[in-house]
């Protein structure tokens, strides 16, 4: 969409592809929250791109977020004087208004006190980074939130009309794609599957909590999180607004599971000593994960879930 005529040059009215507010109605958040709805191609190598300037000017021309000439020419929203004065700590504190940051900090804390210092440290790093990133975008009072023009694309409500957004624009080759391209895609898929199988077998052969198991799992987890920071892998329409009641019910199930696990954790003799009477999920899965086959199956499911998420 970046190169489409609908990107809107200076003085042009906002097109359907470029909402003037930078926030799609389907997933609207409070103004200035800096939320970045996905739904388009990830930025090529970063946030900047020639198309951003057009978006910025379009927003300015419609009165949504006045933009400085520098911002208009570079495509970035200019940092306000207040933001320029704000130090990294103040910026990170501003990001604490993001609920995800608070949840990550809580998980980091409970993970840390339960004896998993590496997990806790990684969670803390991500939480602080996300807080700083969110705070940085929130303190940019001028200009739209960062992100590719596609990130600001309005939701395609045709997805709500029955089209399954999970597979509508994914990696499935176009029916008219040349055979060589389809063959290359198949080879790539086979290579990924072979790599995944090798990963599962190899890492599953290592005993749990050993460094040989820790390094590949932590490395893959960090790589996926970093990749996710850059944006979605595929260009796809933003999902339509979901029913609030349905989301609340799913959230209720998630919270109930977390609270039940947490209550079991606190019922243990100590946070680092497992209890038969009040087993956590880790304790219940210990017998399965003590065997190579169990570890490999678990790793395969973990990899599959990760692939599923990355493809969203």
């Amino acid at each position: 969409m970046t190169g489409s005529p609908g990107c809107g040059g200076p003085g042009q009215p906002p097109s359907q592809d470029q909402p003037a507010t930078g926030e799609p109605p389907g997933d609207r958040t409070a103004p200035g929250t800096g939320e970045q709805p996905a739904g388009g191609p990830p930025p090529a190598g970063g946030d900047a791109g020639p198309g951003h300037g057009a978006t910025t000017l379009t927003a300015a021309s419609t009165g949504h977020g006045a933009t400085t000439p520098l911002a208009a020419s570079t495509g970035h929203g200019a940092t306000s004087p207040a933001a320029a004065r704000a130090g990294p700590v103040v910026t990170a504190l501003a990001g604490l208004r993001e609920p995800i940051v608070v949840i990550l900090l809580l998980i980091a804390f409970f993970t840390w006190i339960s004896g998993k210092s590496l997990d806790g440290m990684l969670m803390l790093v991500v939480a602080v980074s996300l807080a700083w990133d969110t705070g940085r975008r929130r303190t940019r009072r001028d200009g739209p939130p960062e992100g590719s023009p596609a990130d600001n694309a309005p939701p395609d409500f045709s997805a709500a009309a029955g089209r399954d957004d999970a597979g509508s624009t994914g990696p499935t080759p176009h029916p008219d794609a040349p055979p060589a391209s389809a063959r290359r895609r198949r080879l790539l898929l086979l290579a990924w599957l072979a790599g995944g199988a090798l990963y599962v077998v190899l890492v599953g052969s290592f005993s749990r909590y050993s460094w040989p198991a820790t390094v590949p799992v932590a490395g893959l987890g960090a790589a996926v999180v970093v990749a996710g920071w850059r944006g979605p892998r595929h260009s796809r329409p933003a999902p339509a607004r979901l029913p609030a009641i349905g989301l609340a019910l799913w959230g209720l199930v998630l919270v109930a599971g977390c609270l039940w696990e947490l209550s079991s954790l606190f019922e243990q003799p100590t946070l680092t000593t497992s209890s038969y009477a009040h087993p956590t999920i880790s304790t219940l899965t210990d017998p399965v994960l003590s065997a190579w086959a169990g570890r490999s199956i678990f790793l395969a499911a973990w990899l599959g879930l990760g692939w599923f998420l990355v493809e969203r």
Binding site: E35, P37, A38, A213, V225, L242, I245, A277, G306
Partner: protein, 66 residues
């Protein structure tokens, strides 16, 4: 039924609730989105996307990393 059984039953109830929600979402016209669409929605902004991916990474670290 001892406390071990009660604890395990609690996990099973949560799991069953998730299965029921998914069935309601896919087999009925109830205003409940399927889990796949919930994930797609959750991946729609950077903060939520990072939260979901970190949760996924945390699961792997929790069960395998020291």
């Amino acid at each position: 039924m001892n406390s071990h059984d009660v604890t395990v039953l609690g996990y099973l109830v949560v799991l069953l609730a998730g299965v029921i929600l998914e069935l309601l979402a896919t087999r009925t016209r109830a205003p409940i989105p399927p889990l796949g669409k919930v994930f797609a929605w959750a991946m729609g902004t950077r903060a939520r996307r990072i939260g979901v991916l970190v949760a996924w990474a945390w699961v792997g670290l929790h069960f395998f990393a020291r």
